[in-house]
Amino acid sequence: MSDVVEKTLTALPSLLSLDSQPGSAKLSSTSKLGNLIRGITELTSKHEEEKLIQRELASIKEQVSSPNTSMRQMKELMVRAIYCEMLGYEASFSYIHAIKLAQQGTALEKRVGYLAVSLFLNESHELLLLLVNTVLKDLQSTNLIEVCMALTVVSQMFPKDMIPAILPLVEEKLNHQKEIIRRKAVLALYKFYLIAPNQVQHIHNKFRKALCDKDPGVMTASLHIYLQMIQENPEGYKDLTASFVTILKQVVGGKLPMDFNYHSVPAPWLQIQLLRILSVLGKNDQSTSEIMYDVLDESLRRAEMNHNITYAILYECVKCIYTIHPKSDLLEKAAKCIGNFVLSPKINLKYLGLKALTYVVQQDPKLALQHQMTIIECLDHPDLIIKRETLELLFRITNAQNVTVIVEKMLDFLRVSTDDYTTIDLVGKVAELAEKYAPDNEWFIETMNTVFSVGGDMMQPDIPNSFLKLLSEGFDSVEEDRKLRLFAVDSYVSLLQGEPGKLPQRFLQVISWVLGEYSHLRAELQPSTVMRLLSKLLDTKNTSSETKTWVLMTMTKLCEGAAGVSVAQEVSEAYSSSLDTVLRQRAQELQHLSQDSELRARVVPRDAGLEPLEVDSSLSFLDGFVSEALAAGAAPYKPPHQRQEELAQAKALSLEPYGLSLPISISSCSIADRQSPTLLSMSSGLSGDSTDLSHKGGSTTLKLDGVKRVWGKEGYLAQREPVEETAQVEVPSPFRSPSQQAEADSSHSQTPTPVPTPEPTQEKQQLASSLFVGLSSQSSVCLMGKSESAPQRFRRKAKSPSSSSGASEQISNSLVSAPSTVDNLLCDNLLDTNITSELAVSSPTQTSQLSQSLTTANGTCDVELTDTKGSNHSLIRDLSVAVAADPSPHEDPDKPKDFSSHLPAELSGFSHSEITPLCSNQSLDLSACHVQQKDSLVLVVFIYNSSDSDIQQILLELDSDDLEVSGVCGSPVQEVGSQSVAVCQYSLSVKRPSVHVEVGGVVSYQLPVGTPQSAQFSYKLPLTSFIRPLTLSTEEYGTMWLAFSHDTKQNLTLINEGQESLAATLNVLKKKLQLHIVEIIGLEGIVACRLLQDQPCLMHCRVHAGTLAVWLRSPVPDLPDCLMYYCQRALQEH
């Protein structure tokens, strides 16, 4: 009893002070912060403010670190610290206390603690790890507010690696009775999905539950996840289209509670989110689009009120209508909407109208015509943003006839723009237009001059590169090439005679390269004159040393005759002692070569070198040097990963066997590849250096642990730099050899189109007519990105067809050389067939059919193609979007139930997947399965003719983004007799790993009577079908492990079978995924597999705290992630 009394008595003073505390604390907190704020506002100078804040921070710092500070005071201190940070002063000392406050405070204090954490730290901050436990505790709290706070902070930031720790708790919250908790849990999972999609892959079905939640808030939250997932894989969610449409219908119809209304519009945020989802789902998919036409129409109709929010919905509707498969009356309404936007006096709407026009103008150029006067007005709008958007629109409608006017407008804008980002962007666009549509040489060179001067050193480096490439590769007429180069030379000489000091460095580099290559074309121009002009550049103060290097290279090419040599000598003397090593090297080269004209003729042959340069990538010319060095006792060269491995082994106690990794990308051969024999004389010393360095690296492996590593690293740096420089300055050399004669491709010979150059006048009408010229005639501008409506003037020559990318290049060629006015369907079809037939060339089986398929396509309209006319191009280019016309074919009693008897004999010994139907119609049924062989994967397609007559001219074409497809059997199927089956085989290999890979295709055929038919299909197969075991030794594994750059780590569930849980788990993986277990050592295991053909993937796993910590590595991007997904699934299913 007395104890209690005593306790109470001792506590009394503090209790008394506490009594007054709620009020006074609040008062003092506001007054302390208030004092600070008031203090700041009274100050007059920035300097005084700084002094005051520093004082404030010092006092906060002192108080937070004092042990006597209560959490309540801490809360108030945190608020002040946040305020100081907001003013731009660092208060990093308080971060740890913010975490402490979130951990230890009562609810009110915790809330401020969490807020401070979310404002102070970002998700990569290491202190965030300390928050994990607090979050864990609060997620399990019975206090709803605490759970809410934890979920709120988790949805804003959470360390990626710690997600598994709290995932189960967050998942559990999806079933919470309170909708606010469910909603926040969904958003937390959305965050997880964004930062680590693999980790939440297994709870996709729970997302569906959230989508069906009875609370509209939770449902809305789940749409964020769905939009993200659907954007990544639209095919996987087509089945949800109808549900989304139903939801939108209900929302538009006002079925939601009134709470969700915003200015009497029902749930606008929800509507917009749904419209965005629908547009992704309906893109290039007619049948899916058809489901949504009604609701889109209704949305347009309902959104009639004159308020921003309805315009927001309308805008989204219009975007959706133009994205999905087109429907004419909807398009009409959408076009009207865009018109209203553009004509609106409200500037925000006008801007969006222009943006929408930009978006749709490729599909509907007439729309731009309708609004041409408004567009002209916007071009002179005082608000630069409007102007900028108008230029963007004009960029999209540029053609050969209006290019000069539009480019002029863009250059005008560039001259006044002060924003770097805009400049870079616009300069790129001008360069693109100039290259594509230049009416003549003079205009082209002058426009590019402006681009280089205005773009300066900010512009994308590929602009000067591609300009030089264009000049050097030339076009199709030798005479034209000469004229263009000559004009460039003249123009640059006059620029250099002016004030070259003002020109940007990049431009000077371009100038010096062009002069070096082509100044000899102007016969009356003495090389020494050019050299003098260039040497003036060297003397200019602003010239960067990179530019000087270019200039010296140019001089090396030009130093001819006594006058030239004397300039060269002068210059090389001046720079041969430069501190810049590269410059020094160039100066040395210049000196040597200017004295030895014979050697110079060999090293920098002018105009000769028609043959492509041969590169000795094995560096065999150094063999003598190496063997001498070896004989003299030098250690043999070891590749970096081997050295690294030895290093790891030397550290016997290393507990992390695979932890060390160097960036291995610069291996010896990549360096060697860049060397060319032309630079032999200069670079031999260099390569000698590199061998030297590697000797040092190798021979000292045994001792001097610290020193050796530094040496190795430094050796690398020292070696890498000069080599890169050589590579860089050498870039011109391939250009120097003018490319070989063009292939006999008649469609390539381009003649410049005679263009009426419209005079830009003040008269807007006239401006309009010059801007919008050529738009009306192109009634059909296709959907395949930027259309090539006019013959391109500067087109690069096609590369030799022997290159591996030949096929794709040819396709693009046939695309651009298509007739400019693709007006009727027939031409359209012809174009398609062209492309497809060229695709088919890659599978050698089909060539014989080419002419036939051409004639059929020419002869009559293809039914299937007519239907999908709008999306034809994209279908052909990207067959994977082609959905199987009808994945579940109607039951036909006559159909043979089992195709497996038709499997080719050589495949019968292997296991094959279930035979699945691909597509079917009244006469043809296609099914397929895949067969896994030891070193390949074969796709077998069964073509069954269910009609009563023979089907002829069957042409089956497959293509895929993810897969390489090649035909296996020699004889292509051409005919299939009535009621019989033909079999085609294709060998597949993976180009780009993803969890599921898909192959799409088209079958076209001809019935004895009637028109040619075609049908599309697609076939999906898991990546695991391409996985094979990889047998190797532990040593080989170690070497490979260090060399691979792509990796992923995750904790997986361990299959619990007592002592042998690791072995049991690995065996499950081995059985299900065909992996090879290399070795199991204690609690660790190493496993290897390969992706066909020969792309290894290694797995290292370790049992840790009841889970299996798995680490996957591979040289192939995405492969570790995909495999992790399958490992996770395999273990879950077990």
Binding site: L18, T106, A107, S118, Q156, G217, I272
Partner: protein, 157 residues
């Protein structure tokens, strides 16, 4: 949404919320540039800006500028309404809000923002629900806090 900034006509930052991880240096640079750009714009001009590869949507309420950064494919108009809804929420909570309310109670303004936008996405668009959540948190805490701390102080827990 990538971030949201509130600043005064004098260019003083009043609130900042970043939904993408950036370093402090970058944040400061962005803030400085944006405040300058937005303040330089005339009243009748468009509320949208192209800035780097982002779209900036801003609106002025009395002496305060509200400024959001969104990605190119996002809807500018709805972002404008997000700003407006936030102002409505502040107005309802503080009772005809003014800049001073936000300066002196900026943590409350953050709490409201966190209930409305989460991770850069609209979390709850019903005004009633947002305010309910805030009020509950305010209330519940004050209930929970006093008795507990008294017990702790006496040492009876």
């Amino acid at each position: 949404m990538q971030f949201m900034l509130l600043f005064s006509r004098q260019g003083k930052l009043r609130l900042q919320k970043w939904y993408v991880p950036l370093s402090d240096k970058e944040k400061k640079k962005i803030t400085r540039e944006l405040v300058q750009t937005v303040l330089a714009r005339k009243p009748k001009m468009c509320s949208f800006l192209e800035w780097r590869d982002l779209k900036i949507v801003y609106k002025r309420y009395a002496s305060l500028y509200f400024c959001c950064a969104i990605e190119d494919q996002d809807n500018e108009l709805i972002t404008l309404e997000i700003i407006h809804r936030y102002v409505e929420l502040l107005d309802k909570y503080f009772g005809s809000v003014c800049e001073l309310d936000i300066i002196f109670n900026f943590e409350k303004a953050y709490f409201i923002l966190d209930e409305f936008l989460l991770g850069g996405e609209a979390q709850e668009t019903s005004k009633k629900n947002v305010l309910k959540a805030i009020e509950q948190a305010d209330l519940l805490q004050e209930d929970a806090e006093t008795p507990r701390s008294v017990l702790e102080e006496i040492g009876l827990t």
